[in-house]
Symmetry: C2
Subunit: 330 residues, 2 copies
């Protein structure tokens, strides 16, 4: 590979693979899963439990819509990390926050960010256990979240196989629709706006689901449904058949996005920020999974060569493209 | 407290205390020590072991001297965190890195940063196990380091008592002198420059020291010797008598800093970036501690009311001020 190219020319996913290659050169006996495609690294801590850990950097310009309150900024910084912990079936046990802000930042602004983090950690059954403060022109927050999980209940992105059912814990496209409303000055209910500004990490659902033993793989939908499906497809060497009529689209967004089903499907597939859990379930254990928490069945896992497609209302099969929310290129 | 003041008016240490107050409002049964004055949070993971975790945010402008190579930037980002793990007597078990850089950053630059992190993690007996990449105007790196420690060997900043001996693992003021040389275009040997640009986290010394059971408290000297002494003094309600003639000043810096002992003492006390370990030792176990690793005795722990003072070569006792390297105000 030619080294004189920029990181955006390479793109986010290939860059992650490249760095994982550098980082995997050292054997680490403490680590069960590391520096790879999963949402968290997994550390062996005792006979029965793993610890999972994840870190996520957020910035004022790119990650926090202008209308966000400081409390929401704090909540969001914690929520994105706890969502990754949830993706592994783990119980959150702590959050660390490294914050960079300019020297003239008002103290009450930092207090409110901290309260938002604290409230999100509390909602997730845990607390903020450490951090760092630093000076910086642009507000920057790097969160790190930790969880514990019984070894038998750990879920990763690997394990989906043809015949499994694919499900999602809530709606798809709601946060994207809320962002669309914000960007176009469309007035929407607070409840919908909050799917974007105060996302709920599915930490309880995650643990309930993991306990059933019914799931074969899991990840969150923060980069959008299509991107998540493609990540699972690549890792497991499978494809997905998704039913357009089963896409869990929140009724309220129809009013201001479009009543056209193809437009709604695009929002559900190709916008990010929802932080729901996407999981594959053994077909004979679907009932057990559905008894654990509210779960929308959206399709099935198929052979790789079938590809990842959307079975439209008109009977047509459309390819679901690999696109969604990415920081760097595509 | 009036909320309309800025964070720099409040200062770094009071801000940390204030945020710790917000974060300590939630009880967390998984956490033994959290969100407080120590270098790491401490998590209970099994019958015999604790996990320690720390996070640190670094920026291009404030934390990486201009002459730093990308490899050194990566090394430094990992080293500052591993030094915090070392401060607790723990064995490093992993590192996570969240990096923000502009889209036009050259790929080879990111590769080199990653190799520097990887090499530092390898030096510390572990590896890079996860991370995040993000776009950002200014290069920003938040590292998170993890360690494990036997419960009986955990060291914290608390425990120093009058009569204990205070020691440091290496020199004081070397990194500060190197920075002074850089800022004044003074040519110095690479070995000295590298105390600033490629600091060695004392991870091996730390574990050897912890095993002796001779230490009563420990922290690193990254914010400077004076600041570290005051942190220990405040937490333990003690003072320190430091011998000027025992200050471990590297001979090479005399050549370009000054031959005047008071100037050299100022460098040793009031400049940061050394990443040595500062520890208090039970007087009857000093020999055991000194057999574990190279250790400079610099003075003794005294009663609080005696204060923290420097016994000068001329017999005078000078107050050691609370100053050093801080991000925000004083």
């Amino acid at each position: 590979m030619n080294d004189s190219i920029s990181v955006s020319e390479l793109g986010e996913r290939p860059l992650i693979s490249r760095l994982s290659g550098i980082f995997s050169s050292v054997h680490n006996p403490d680590v069960t899963l590391g520096a790879g495609p999963d949402d968290c690294a997994v550390i062996d801590i005792s006979e029965n439990e793993y610890m999972v850990i994840t870190t996520d950097m957020l910035h004022r310009k790119t990650d926090f819509p202008l209308c966000m309150t400081p409390w929401q900024i704090g909540w969001m910084s914690a929520a994105v990390n706890f969502s990754d912990v949830a993706s592994m079936g783990a119980r959150p046990i702590g959050f660390l926050s490294a914050m960079g802000f300019s020297k003239d930042t008002d103290l009450s602004f930092i207090d409110e960010i901290s309260r938002g983090m604290n409230d999100c950690a509390k909602f997730c059954g845990t607390s903020v256990i450490g951090g760092d403060i630093d000076t910086h022109d642009e507000l920057t927050i790097t969160g790190t979240a930790l969880g514990k999980v019984n070894k038998s209940e750990l879920l990763t992105r690997r394990g989906a196989k043809p015949g499994d059912i694919i499900c999602v814990t809530g709606f798809a496209g709601s946060a994207g629709a809320a962002l669309h409303a914000l960007e176009n000055d469309i007035d929407i209910p607070d409840s919908l706006l909050n799917t974007l500004l105060e996302p709920i990490p599915r930490v309880n659902e995650s643990q309930e689901l993991a306990r059933t033993g019914a799931l074969t793989s899991m990840m969150d939908t923060s980069d959008g449904l299509a991107m998540s499906l493609h990540d699972l497809a690549d890792l497991n060497n499978v494809g997905f058949k998704i039913d357009e009529k089963s896409l869990p689209i929140q009724q309220e967004i129809v009013d201001f996005v479009s009543s056209e089903s193809s437009v709604l499907a695009d929002f559900a597939l190709y916008t990010g920020g929802d932080f729901e859990l996407l999981c594959t379930v053994s077909p004979d254990m679907l009932e057990a999974a559905q008894s654990a928490c509210y779960l929308n069945v959206i399709g099935e896992v198929v052979d790789r060569e079938v590809g990842t497609t959307l079975r439209c209302r008109n009977g047509e099969n459309l390819t679901i493209n690999r696109k969604g929310y990415l920081q760097l290129g595509n």
